[in-house]
Structures are given as C-alpha cells and as structure tokens.
Symmetry: C2
Subunit: 139 residues, 2 copies
C-alpha cells in the first residue's frame, strides 16, 4: 500500500511508523505519519521550531540525505490520553549504525491527533540532554 | 485565597498563572499550577527530564532562589485541543530584569489536563534555540 494511503488506528501505530521511518530513512512513510494539516510543528534536537508540512518535510529530507540509518531504543515512556489527542513523552536512545555507541538520550514529546484519516502526529519536540550543566538552565 | 485552593477554569488561566509564578518567583503558585499527580514531567532548557511533584518542585525552588525575576513575552502560539487535554506550543522570550536584553527564544510545549480541580499543567518541555548549527541536529 502506498504510504500516503496508510491509516493508523492508534497513537502507538503512528509512533511505531514514525520511528520505522527514521530507521529506514523513509520520507514517504514519515510524511504519512504527520497530519495533513498546516498546524503541525517539529523541533529537532537543538533546532528551531519548524511549522507546516513543507518545512517539516524539508527537514526530514535533509536529515535522511545524511543519515547512515539510525537505530532507536525508547525508554521512560509516559503518556497523557484524551479521546482525540494523546501526548507521549519518551527518551530516545539513538546510535548511528550498529557499530556505534548510543548517544546521550534525547527527550521527545510526541503529540498525536485522531483525524478523519486515523491517528497522525501533529507535534514532535525533541531536545538533547547532553547539556547537563545547571548553569545552562534559563528557567 | 491560598495558592493550593486555586481552581483554573481554562488552560489559558493555568498558563497565565504559570508565567506569573515564573515572573514573581512564586513557588506556591507554581505548584498550584501543576497537577496533583505523580505523572507530571518538566524539562528545563538543556536539562534532564524531571518526573513527579517532588523533583519538579525542587527544580523550581532552585531556579527561584537564583532568579532576579524573569520577564516574559510569548509569541508564535499554536495549540491542539481536546475535551480534557490541551497542548500549547509557544516561544518564550525571556529577560532577566527590566534592563537586560531578551535572550534567544525558548520553545516550550505546555500540556494541560482537566482534573477534578480544574485545568492543571502536566508537562512543560522547554528547549533553547541558541544552538542554531544544523550539525548539532541528531535526527
């Protein structure tokens, strides 16, 4: 089935597809995960906020062009659920290829919305934890 | 009215109280904003994820002990609403006192939940945008 016809029946299915797209550098699958709406936002670790499908798509295109294929392990999941909106908070443990070490975890807040075409991602906010110095904290 | 008796009737009221607490270094008000539940998480800019009321409270206590009183301006708001759960994404423009310059914006994802005691914050995920270099992006 073409990626743009996929319908995810739960936030978990959408999240699994999101991390599969990252692992496979699969831009079609990645954009099938995101809601078909301009009110979507993506923050890559250390990056600016990117709003709307064009900006989100372009960022993944650039990332996939340079990625050797990321390996993911998730931990420390917590969640907030409502009927049509779910927030997952996870730690992403990432390594670039099987022979690399895992990097310090990335904290990701993933927001999913129930649309007319199943559950879609509307927000991905990721931030690095390698800046551990408390002096860096602004508030 | 004591802060721990406050009931916020909308996510907007909770958010306004959150930023008022930050501005006033008001720990009582800050902890009245957060849900009275262990399933809460707070990520300060560049920091680790803090889970549960004790860890969240301790972090604000430390921040307020050293803060001269932060001035806030918010911009670029977007939101995702459901009946009992709301996600606000904002840019926080912060300066430390009236005579300072505003720092590069912080991106904050704020999650509010409708509880038996009104709308409460359950998640605050803030990340700095001063690391603008694309080489810093992990994924």
């Amino acid at each position: 089935m073409p990626a743009n016809k996929l319908v995810f029946s739960s936030p978990e299915a959408t999240e699994a597809a999101f991390y599969r797209a990252l692992h496979k550098n699969d831009l079609g699958l990645m954009m099938a995960v995101w809601d078909d709406d301009e009110n979507i936002s993506c923050v890559h670790p250390g990056g600016q906020r990117l709003d709307g499908r064009a900006a989100v798509r372009q960022s993944w295109e650039q990332i996939f062009a340079h990625s050797p294929g990321m390996e993911f392990r998730l931990s420390d999941e917590s969640r907030y659920d409502d009927q049509n909106l779910t927030v997952h908070v996870v730690h992403e443990h990432i390594r670039l290829g099987k022979d690399s070490n895992y990097q310090p975890p990335v904290i990701a807040t993933n927001v999913y919305r129930l649309t007319g075409n199943g559950w879609r991602m509307v927000m991905h906010h990721a931030s690095p934890t390698r800046i551990g110095n408390k002096q860096e904290i602004l508030h």
